[in-house]
């Protein structure tokens, strides 16, 4: 409400102040780092835009990318690189004291670094003009709803919106509110509920049966999806309350029929960023290599996606597994087209969705663990540990399954309109209101608000 009480021309300043407060609250030093990056990228963007000579333009681009990547490497990958360098040198009996850093990762660093780089590359490619208005450019980066989990915004989407005057519109409040409600449902009812089960199972892996670990592994996929897309829904919803449309980050990923399809639906802002700024340029450059050029670009792109998530080898392997699946799909595309024609569509599609889900769940075992050995022990335990399914009390299972079911039914309905009667987007406003009121009530009934809900471990 305070936002709409501020005079229109000062609303962006108000948002800058709120966003800055958010960062300062998280750590004043990190805000200084971000402020420095905003200023340097703003100036480099201007120089890049105003320069005519290709050499100078390239120089500014390289400078900008170096500053951004250097910051990212220093804060996120320094210790990883150091530890591996030490390990490598120890093979040759060369030991030295690497200056490890104990600095915490600044809030949202990976997101805004990619946003900066995208902005500079867009200017270099002349897809976008540099933003002249410094406060507007600052808000493009700082805008607080997207700071924790993105989406990684593009200059072409957000900057033009920030240039407009925003007036109070009922629609923004209603649609933003709806989106927040769904985000809360996914986060509190689905993700946090499954997280309790995950913690209980994974902290006692040795004592759990294979079927329990398999169940937990499959649930983890729903947890990651509900958690990440739930947060994103809240971010998009909050932005909408202020009158801004952030780009979509998820489009029903568990209904994807192949890996390519999956990455067009999962963390879209990251996958499209890598597609636009890494895959396409490299694939174009290596087009003379034929299929090897595609494979090369895919591998590099997905290693970046994997590594973006964190500084361990597991994330690299996770990325590599995605690339392998995509290469397989690319190599077998003709055969699969033939196969699809010979099998009834319903069976082929549903089987594809199931295989995709299982493959993603398998990859997430690698994603979730911090070492190859712990990933291996999870996979081994699935096959070797006897016993039944652990679920504490029946209500644990009920809450998890009902939450997942509602989330998936909502996605299926959006994808294929299987039900004629639509509750949440019904044309009748009363039906809509009752549906959303019941959704909020269900969140109150089944949401996990703190550590008050727990799974009692006694085997």
């Amino acid at each position: 409400m305070a936002y709409y009480l501020v005079p229109v021309k000062f609303r962006n300043y108000f948002l800058i102040a709120v966003s800055a407060f958010f960062y300062i609250y998280a750590g004043p030093v990190y805000f200084l780092l971000l402020a420095g990056l905003i200023l340097s990228n703003y100036l480099i963007g201007l120089k890049l835009d105003l320069s005519v000579e290709e050499k100078a333009r390239k120089g500014y681009l390289v400078l900008g990318i170096s500053i951004n990547l250097g910051t990212l490497i220093f804060f996120k990958y320094w210790n990883f690189l150091g530890a591996n360098l030490v390990k490598l040198l120890s093979v040759f009996h060369l030991g030295f004291n690497f200056p490890y850093s104990d600095i915490l990762l600044p809030l949202g660093l990976s997101y805004y670094i990619f946003q900066f780089i995208g902005y500079l590359v867009d200017i270099y490619w002349k897809h976008e003009k540099a933003e002249r208005d410094f406060p507007r450019f600052s808000l493009f980066i700082l805008f607080f709803p997207k700071i924790l989990v993105g989406p990684i915004e593009r200059a072409g989407n957000l900057l033009p919106q920030l240039a407009k005057n925003i007036y109070f519109e009922n629609d923004n409040i209603v649609e933003g509110g709806k989106r927040i409600a769904w985000g809360l449902f996914k986060k509190l009812v689905v993700a946090d509920r499954i997280a309790m089960y995950q913690t209980a199972v994974m902290s006692t892996l040795d004592q759990q049966s294979g079927i329990t670990i398999l169940f937990a592994t499959l649930l983890y996929s729903f947890q990651v999806y509900a958690d990440f897309s739930g947060y994103t829904d809240i971010a998009i919803g909050v932005a909408r309350l202020f009158g801004y449309n952030l780009i979509e980050n998820f489009k029903r990923p568990f209904l994807a029929k192949n890996m390519g399809d999956f990455w067009r639906r999962w963390h879209i802002s990251l996958s499209s960023w890598v597609n636009d700024y890494v895959f396409t340029p490299i694939a174009f450059k290596k087009r003379s290599w034929g299929i090897l050029g595609v494979f090369y670009s895919l591998t590099l792109s997905f290693l970046i996606i994997g590594f973006w998530h964190g500084s361990t080898w597991n994330y690299l392997l996770f990325g590599l597994l995605q690339a392998v699946a995509l290469m397989y799909e690319y190599a077998t595309r003709k055969f699969r087209k033939k196969l699809a024609r010979s099998v009834p569509t319903v069976i082929y599609n549903n089987l594809s969705i199931l295989i995709m889900f299982l493959y993603v769940s398998f990859c997430l075992i690698i994603f979730r663990t911090d070492s190859f050995s712990s990933a291996g022990s999870i996979i081994k335990a699935i096959y070797t540990h006897p016993g039944g399914l652990f679920y504490d009390t029946p209500s644990t299972l009920f809450f998890i399954l009902i939450g997942c079911m509602i989330m998936m039914l909502y996605d299926i309905q959006k994808e294929s309109k299987i039900f004629r009667f639509n509750l949440f987007s019904n044309k009748n406003w009363i039906v809509q209101q009752v549906s959303y009121a019941l959704l909020l009530i269900y969140i109150m009934l089944a949401g996990v608000f703190d550590g008050g809900q727990f799974i009692y471990l006694a085997f």
Binding site: N170, I173, V174, Q207, T393, P394, S395, F398, F399, W429, Q433, V434, Y436, A437, L438, L440, I441, M444, L445, A446, G447, V448, F449, D450, G451, G452, Q453, F454, Y456, L457, A458, F459
Partner: protein, 314 residues
């Protein structure tokens, strides 16, 4: 003939918003009160045992604590030995905060003669989880002023959250339904013997050494609550016995909380029985359900040991 069609006037945004908020309040009030009715209508199960401990029990011997209290002390054996009624108020996953709130509720009605408080290692550790666990007391917040101070320790926003009638019953809907179902009374796992619930498993693993370093940040609020628990029992001339249950593991380090318990019990001259290092139990994995909990047979032996020790002290 008038052919104009009167268009239905759509309600404004503000009217819709008011209707939506009204709808939410009505649903929250209705469902919350229904859950409240069903919650207090239960006459078996874990939730009922809390209600019984707070509202009904008049047992002269009361056992307090978490899961180790609930699964280790058999009231029937205490009743036989002391010729006094006994009730086990222990509840899985709860801590001293819960025990103290129940004690306050009991003291509002009467004073028992003997109290056994089973404590755990890391009882006074600083963590939010143990405060969050007092969620189990939320249904009693409205009608039991004596538990409010403990519930308020959970978070400064608890008062606001409790404006919702549903919130106290969050995550309980299935448990409440099961608690009201007839078949529930037949279920062995829920069936209790004066609050005590036996565990069935037999632990097959070897004795392990717990190498977790036991020096951790201590929570002064919890220590104060423990001290109040002891003081209030002494003021009412209740025989208080503090126990630490057997575990199927060897502790490498001395636990800071246990050191404080020893100190306070010595200061107030309250007997403290430490069975966590008892070699008899360390040689009998068959008496355990898991490394932290005794099974039914183990509880039998342990209860007899505690009874003998109390009789010696008296």
């Amino acid at each position: 003939m008038d052919t104009t069609i009167k268009s239905k006037k759509k309600p404004t945004f503000l009217v819709k918003l008011i209707i939506f908020i009204f709808l939410l309040i009505v649903l929250d009030f209705g469902i919350g009160n229904l859950l409240k009715y069903l919650y207090f209508k239960q006459d078996s199960g874990s939730l009922y045992r809390t209600t019984y401990a707070l509202d009904s029990t008049r047992a002269d011997i009361l056992i307090f604590g978490s899961s180790t209290a609930n699964h280790h002390y058999i009231p029937d054996l205490f009743e036989k030995a002391f010729h006094l009624p006994c009730y086990n108020t222990g509840r899985d996953g709860n801590t001293l905060l819960y025990s103290y709130a129940i004690l306050k509720g009991v003291f509002k009605r009467y004073s028992p003669k003997i109290i056994i408080l089973d404590i755990n290692e890391q009882e006074f550790i600083t963590n939010q989880d143990s405060y969050d666990r007092v969620t189990s007391l939320l249904p009693y917040y409205e009608n039991h002023p004596e538990v409010r101070d403990i519930v308020k320790l959970k978070s400064p926003f608890e008062n606001i959250k409790l404006l919702s009638k549903i919130y106290p019953y969050n995550s309980l809907i299935f448990t409440i339904c099961v608690g009201n179902a007839d078949f529930n009374k037949e279920r062995i796992t829920i069936k209790d013997q004066n609050g005590y619930v036996p565990l069935q498993n037999t632990w097959k693993g070897p004795v392990t050494t717990d190498t977790v370093f036991k020096k951790y940040p201590l929570d002064s609020t919890k220590i104060n609550i423990f001290e109040s628990f002891v003081k209030e029992c002494i003021q009412r001339n209740i025989y208080l016995y503090i126990c630490l249950s057997p575990k199927f593991k060897v502790e490498k380090y001395v636990d800071s909380s246990i050191e404080i318990v020893k100190h306070i019990s010595k200061e107030f001259n309250v007997p403290f029985f430490n069975y966590s290092t008892d070699t008899f139990f360390l040689h009998h994995g068959d008496l355990f359900h898991d490394v932290n909990h005794l099974n039914g047979n183990g509880a039998n032996i342990y209860s007899e040991l505690v009874i003998r020790k109390i009789l010696q002290k008296q």
